[in-house]
Amino acid sequence: MNGSAAMVSVEGLSIHFGGVAALSDLSFEVGEGQITGLIGPNGAGKTTCFNCITGLYRPSAGTVVFKGQNLTRLAPHRIAGRRIARTFQNLELFPSMTALENVMVGGANRARALELLDYVGQRDNAARIVHGLPFGARKMIEIARALAMEPELLLLDEPASGFGHDAIGQIGDTIERIRSDFKTTILMVEHSMQLVMRVCNRIIVLQSGQKLAEGDPAAIAANPAVIEAYLGS
């Protein structure tokens, strides 16, 4: 893995909903300090994979090992206690709380929470109830809340969705800045190929719950199976 140790090892992960196999026998590793991309067409199982890592879903088979410890049977709040933080594809802020309170739930005190809101450009919204804020603001507040956990592993589910094309460069900057400022490992689901190709050290491609390909961005961009999957969908 480019010389870095695996921080997360996913081994043989399987889960199904009724007849739908959302993940089948999925294995991959996430290297410490890297930005790993998890991509694939709609319904490929990317969010399901996040939910298995964070304990929201219980896989029917397979294990998730984080820094040598098996997380598979732990409750979500205990997994969070290992400093694994995430954002949600469809935003899961606490709607009745202010931006500041949202970030404080992540574990920061008031002063630190203000710093983090400042870091993501949302300090002006600190005292506002998040319910009525624009989508982009709420997305950044979710990132601040995740950073409040001082995460060792940060899971980002489609950080660029909902932003215009010209914002993608900025989001890429933010993600790279987070990696170096917080010395955190990032696993990121994203549909924007431009963003994925730019920030990821390594990419894992899912299709119908299975791993289709894995490699560095150049190899993935040149992989015929990947091109087929993306052109086909």
Partner: protein
């Protein structure tokens, strides 16, 4: 600033009232304060965690009987109140663990069954509880009871206010707003929901102890299902999202039935019911919610 002045003014009024109003009114206000304490418990439970309880009267009963049994065995009533809080609180923790496995209407049904089981259980253990006769408690002066009850209410309101603003309160709100996000950020749902149930039950227990002292008597029939429902009505009418709504709730369930009685003795229940329906129709956030909006409207108007 305005808020603290308001609270100070309110405290002065409450302290002076026994000298200004007839004694029986002061005595009714003692009851209102005790109800308000139980309703604060419901505001914590329902307003802050979204768990519904139709059975809070059961914890009021536990508090009342704990006090009555201890006091008739020579324990000072101060200790009796503390014991009422502890025993009702512990029972709440135990039942909260069960409540966790139930959601929504099932939780409501289970707590309703709890409220229904109080009288039979009390009658069954007659050697301790005095059976259907109940227990008599030595009486105290009405002024003493007034200041005791309002003093305890002030203390418990303050505790709830600061408790809900602490990390604990934040965790409870997080769980109510989005359980998925809350657990993903390290909030232990079992711990906090059980804690909320225990906290709220302890408040009901204290209310029960104070009501028992005021009445100088406990008997199974006092703790009917109607008491549980009345407390819930008080919480909803006062306003579930604002703590001081509990105070209004306590006043409503103490005084509205009396006023209804005065308006039409024959149709008292109907008048009471209509008043409640009107409040719910025109003030969906309870009285406190409606007043809160009105006040922020006035404040904005001045800017």
């Amino acid at each position: 600033m305005v808020r603290w002045l308001g609270i100070a003014a309110f405290a002065v009024v409450i302290a002076a009232l026994p000298r200004l109003v007839p004694q029986f009114v002061a005595f009714e206000l003692t009851y209102a304060a005790a109800y308000a304490i139980a309703i604060v418990g419901l505001v914590i439970l329902i307003g802050r965690t979204g768990q519904i309880s139709l059975g809070h009267g059961a914890f009021v009963a536990v508090g009342g009987y704990t006090l009555a049994i201890l006091v008739t065995h020579g324990v000072p009533y101060g200790l009796g109140i503390v014991a009422a809080a502890l025993i009702a609180g512990l029972l709440g923790v135990a039942l909260g663990g069960i409540a966790l496995r139930l959601a929504g209407v099932y939780l409501a049904l289970a707590t309703f069954a709890l409220a229904n089981s109080v009288a039979p259980v009390l009658k069954r253990f007659g050697s301790l509880t005095g059976g259907a006769q109940g227990l008599s408690i030595p009486s105290h002066s009405e002024t003493e009871l007034y200041y005791l009850t309002w003093g305890v209410a002030a203390l418990l309101f303050a505790l709830a206010y600061f408790g809900l603003r602490s990390r604990v309160g934040l965790a409870l709100r997080a769980l109510r707003d989005s359980e998925i996000a809350a657990v993903s950020f390290g909030v232990n749902p079992v711990f906090y929901k059980t804690l909320a149930f225990g906290w709220s039950s302890a408040y009901a227990g204290v209310a029960g102890a104070l009501l028992a002292l005021a009445t100088a008597y406990v008997s199974p029939d006092v703790y009917s299902v109607a008491l549980s429902l009345n407390l819930l009505v008080g919480a909803v009418i006062g306003g579930l999202q604002l703590l001081w709504g509990a105070l209004l709730g306590g006043l409503v369930i103490q005084f509205f039935p009396l006023w209804s009685q005065a308006i039409s003795p024959a149709l008292a229940a109907v008048v009471y019911g209509i008043a409640l329906i009107l409040i719910m129709m025109f003030m969906p956030g309870g009285i406190a919610g409606a007043l809160g909006r009105r006040m922020s409207f006035i404040r904005r108007g001045h800017e």
